[in-house]
Amino acid sequence: MSTAVLSVSALAAGLPAGVLPAEVADDWWTRIFDFSDYGSLIALVQNSLIAGVVLGLVGGLVGVFVMQRDLAFAVHGISELSFAGAAAALLLSIDVMLGAVLGSVVAAVVIGLLGTRARDRNSIIGVLMPFGLGLGVLFLALYPGRAANKFGLLTGQIVAVDSTRLSLFLVIAAVIVAGLVVIWRPLTFASVDPDVAAARGVPTRALGIGFMLLLGLAVALAVQVVGALLVLSLLITPAAAATRVSASPVVVPLLSVAFAVTSAVGGILLALGGSVPISPYVTTVSFVIYVVCRIVGNARTRRGWARRVAVASAAEASTA
């Protein structure tokens, strides 16, 4: 157990593979949790905290539709392409966020255009994803700079968002939220009831591609904070947790956002106390929330979530 934690944290912190001596093993706990100097550290990560709140909002809302449209695998695929874009940007010394956005938007549009049916979509993602990851590895291998930058793209870094990047981050987030607000109702219709939505004149295909664009942007934001490998923890887990405990179209998005913000901000605050990357904290908070929701949801189902109210027999009899 301890060696597993150690190797992950050492790897993620960017230590060369050969440096895993006994002295590191002795203090692995303090590397994960060490809350001395906490106050002065918080000031340093103010931007990251703002980014965490905004990412929670975006991830929580987008996640609701990711669940409804069964796009979990697509999110993972897009994040690998986003990683490739960011790695290319790092190599070419252009803005990493720009590279991440380009990579994920291209991936999202390709998946949206080619994969209308679920089976097509999954095979297209299966083809794109390793290619993206391979490209990313290539770009990182060619990149001569610090190793920590490289691993940050995969596993996240706490100070990834500086002041100049924060404004771009906020603009992209605003675009996503505004776009979702505009298409919310017809997108819900097209996601949960596509046949009838098409019959009622809802442009289901255009909405699907529009949503993929917004999803691509959201993934690019998440890659900045939690890294490409763990995007799912903010784009899927909170919404999946929320749907375990409610089926209301109002409560589910609100819970999902609350869970995502808690995971992102909580993860950042916990990560301050250690020297390992931010993502293990974010994913753990997010996972614990999911487990709790699952237990609550199961208890609720056992007690009879699907229970009918008493008028059932009377109403059935009158129409049968």
Binding site: V182, P186, F189, V196, R308, A320
Partner: protein, 266 residues
Amino acid sequence: MSVPAAPLELEGARLAYGPRVVWSDVDLTVRPGEFLTVLGPNGSGKTSLLRAILGLTPLSAGRLSIMGAPPRRGSRAVGYIPQQRLIDPATPVRARDLVRLGLDGDRWGLGGGSTRARVDALLAAVGASAYADVPLGMLSGGEQQRVRIAQALGTEPALLLCDEPLLSLDLRHQHEVTALIHAMRRERGTAVVFVTHEINPVLPYTDRVLYLAPAGHAIGVPDEVLTSSQLSALYGTPVDVLRSQGRVVIVGGDDEHVHHVEEADE
């Protein structure tokens, strides 16, 4: 003197995909409150007919009108009930949400305004009030179809399209759903176009049959259309129509009918 517009009117209607003619020269006027059952083997153009009525596929020739106007995508004059399909129990949609989407799901934005009273009234009309707040994926097939009927009636359509709504329902639910659709058209004067593989559940309510077949089509009351000579002519091969205890069994032509009838015969 103005004649009230017909819910559905086809004049010399023809639909072709490239050189392949699906159906042609269809002349049909569906009166308010009429129950038209559309039968035919796979590939005979039943779904294409529904798509044409919904304004999703244009006719190749002829004229089609809904309440006197050309078909239009998203017209509120047309309600649509699809076949029952599997819904993941974790989908965050309750019965009432599905009905509501039928009312305003085609509009942009988050959706404000209160539709609760109307949704409740629609659910009550189909006897689905008891499970209004149950997630859709936790409803039985028959319950889901009840909710879909409420959804389709939300815009007070003049014409209700039913696209194989009985598929994958057991016999009891087939009868419940057809009886409910019949009751709704009586109560509201909604014309019904009911596409199905299985004639027997809808036979008691059917006013006229439109039979689409490889060698042409026939329109008329069930006793006129569902005869051995008529169907043999439509299929271009010998077809026997047998009647037994109020049920119709079609043998030959399209094997699927035999299959489905056997299946329905408990």
